[in-house]
């Protein structure tokens, strides 16, 4: 009965990216380890890690680049698990837009939502074809990616998730074309990770949480259909639509099968990339901001 309460802040509204968490929740993988996990969705993906740093929540779902920027700003955060182990971010244009290559973007308008990181991604991708950021018009469309693309107000968007926006566009009858960031000069990274407060690292609940998450992923890949029912079960019936079903299908292969494992050199490689792009000022010792829990 006296289960340990664990507040977990998601990065965004509930979507198939969070599947392992909900499967673990529904299957009781958390509770059987003595955890009472509460999942909260925010509307600004920036805030959850800050609140973990401030001690207002135990864990937060974050992005690897965001995490490294926050650590660089001195937030006492540590990555303890990975949810999605590949990049999802991509540059998307409409398939019938005549933009077959990134080079065709010269003089076009590109929308983005998150200043800093996404513009860096775009810079690097443009560099691959000999363009500069100033060769395109940048517009902050504030998370209104698909509508601005569909209504022809922008020619491409960076920050689109390949498992999501591509399906969205397809469903609206205007299929998109994605340029995957890791194929255009950006080192691979973990899209979604779980971060904790540095002071909490010795709490046994955190390891228990990662274990439950691992069990969740395993159940998910073993029983995808049953997992889907668990995911949309109960009070999340409104998630049951064509878009989420497709996104679910496309996300399945991208979950980290060993959530607790840490590929140290991959993290350092990405840190070097961010440093090189002047997104972060320095590279702290890895153990300060990313660990494998004992």
């Amino acid at each position: 009965q006296d289960r340990e309460k664990l507040t977990v802040l998601l990065d965004w509204f509930v979507n198939p990216d969070h599947a392992p968490l909900f499967v673990a929740q529904e299957k009781g993988f958390f509770s059987k380890r003595g955890l009472d996990v509460q999942l909260i969705a925010p509307s600004n993906p920036n805030d959850p890690p800050k609140l973990v740093a401030a001690g207002k929540a135990d864990l937060a779902v974050s992005y690897q680049h965001q995490h490294q920027m926050q650590v660089d700003q001195g937030l006492p955060l540590v990555r303890v698990a990975t949810l999605i182990a590949t990049p999802l971010n991509s540059l998307v244009v409409l398939a019938d837009s005549g933009i077959d290559d990134i080079a065709d973007l010269r003089g076009k308008t590109v929308g983005y939502s998150v200043g800093g990181f996404e513009t860096v991604l775009l810079t690097v991708m443009l560099q691959q074809v000999g363009l500069q950021l100033s060769d395109v018009n940048l517009v902050n469309v504030n998370f209104s990616l698909s509508p601005s693309l569909l209504s022809g107000k922008v020619d491409g968007v960076i920050g689109a998730f390949r498992n999501f926006e591509l399906n969205q566009l397809d469903l609206e009858g205007h299929p998109g074309r994605a340029f995957f960031v890791e194929e255009f000069g950006v080192p691979a990274y973990d899209e979604l990770i779980v971060v904790a407060n540095r002071d909490d690292l010795d709490r046994p609940e955190l390891r228990a949480f990662v274990d439950a998450l691992e069990e969740g992923v395993q159940y998910l890949v073993n029983h995808p259909d049953d997992s889907w029912r668990l995911f949309i079960g109960e009070d999340r019936g409104d998630l049951d639509d064509e878009l989420n079903r497709r996104a679910w299908r496309d996300t399945l292969p991208r979950f980290a099968l060993r959530p607790g494992a840490l590929d140290r050199s991959r993290y350092l490689r990405f840190a070097a990339f961010l440093h090189e792009q002047e997104i972060i000022d320095g590279i702290a010792p890895l153990a300060d901001w990313a660990v494998e829990l004992e």
Binding site: V14, A41, N44, L150, D241, L243
Partner: protein, 252 residues
């Protein structure tokens, strides 16, 4: 008072207008869906919508109540203590200039993820029109009345109660009308602080997943509720100022 029949006519008119805008601007359905698909979405998600409406409704009403209370208090403080006013007024003005996303983490830090932080955000948006209008109204109290009260040896609190406040009620009412109109957006913005229920949350959610028709269903519901709230408050305010029956300027 607005009769049920008139309400229906107005609703029909608004929906007609909506359809007209859709037709006239040829807005694609993923940006502005027509009334019909939205109605279907509303029916399909009826119970979910009503569930979220409950939360937002509570936030709206609570935000309006607390906001009105806070607004009147601020106005009273500024009237009673002109010295304090010099400091309070700039703070109030700045409070209106701060965007949500800057405040959201602070509010959560101080008030947590519960209702409190959402209502606080709603209050922040709602209280200002009340405070400003009420204060201005009180400041415009007929000077002769104040002199009369002073000559009578009135206690300041009674001057406020029997003269200054009633004299400012029309101005207060005007501010409260504005506050009521922005109460829904106050509640919706409050839900951005981090929530898992409410129409604002649900709309963001639907928006993020491009369920535009669902989002507009929630929007239509929110609009309907705002209208009911607004006209109820409007009616009550007209009653409150019983000595000043309203009438048209032109002859209807």
């Amino acid at each position: 008072m607005i009769t049920a029949r008139r309400l229906i006519i107005i609703a029909a008119g608004l929906i007609g207008l909506w359809q007209l805008v859709v037709l006239a601007t040829k807005a694609p359905p993923y940006i502005l869906p027509g009334p019909w698909p939205v109605l279907q979405a509303a029916i399909a998600n009826g119970s979910t919508l009503l569930h979220h409406l409950q939360t937002t409704g509570i936030e709206m009403v609570a935000g309006l109540l607390v906001g009105t209370l806070l607004g009147t208090s601020c106005a009273l403080v500024m009237i009673i203590a002109p010295l304090l006013r010099r400091w309070l007024l700039p703070v109030l003005v700045i409070s209106q200039a701060v965007p949500v996303f800057a405040l959201a983490p602070l509010l959560v830090l101080w008030l947590g993820y519960g209702m409190a932080s959402k209502i606080a955000m709603a209050v922040l948006i709602i209280f200002f029109p009340v405070a400003s209008s009420f204060y201005q109204g009180m400041r415009r109290t007929n000077r002769d009345l104040l002199e009369l009260a002073r000559i009578m040896g009135a206690r300041p609190v009674n001057v406020l109660r029997f003269i200054v406040i009633p004299a400012a009620l029309p101005a207060f009412a005007s501010g409260l009308r504005v506050a009521t109109a922005v109460a829904p957006i106050g509640a919706v913005v409050g839900e951005w602080v981090g929530s898992s229920a409410g129409l604002g949350f649900y709309m963001l959610h639907a928006n993020a997943r491009m369920q535009v028709d669902v989002m507009f269903a929630a929007l239509a519901l929110l609009s309907a509720v705002s209208l009911v709230l607004y006209f109820s408050v409007d009616y009550l305010l007209d009653k409150l100022i019983y000595w000043q029956p309203t009438q048209g300027v032109t002859h209807e």
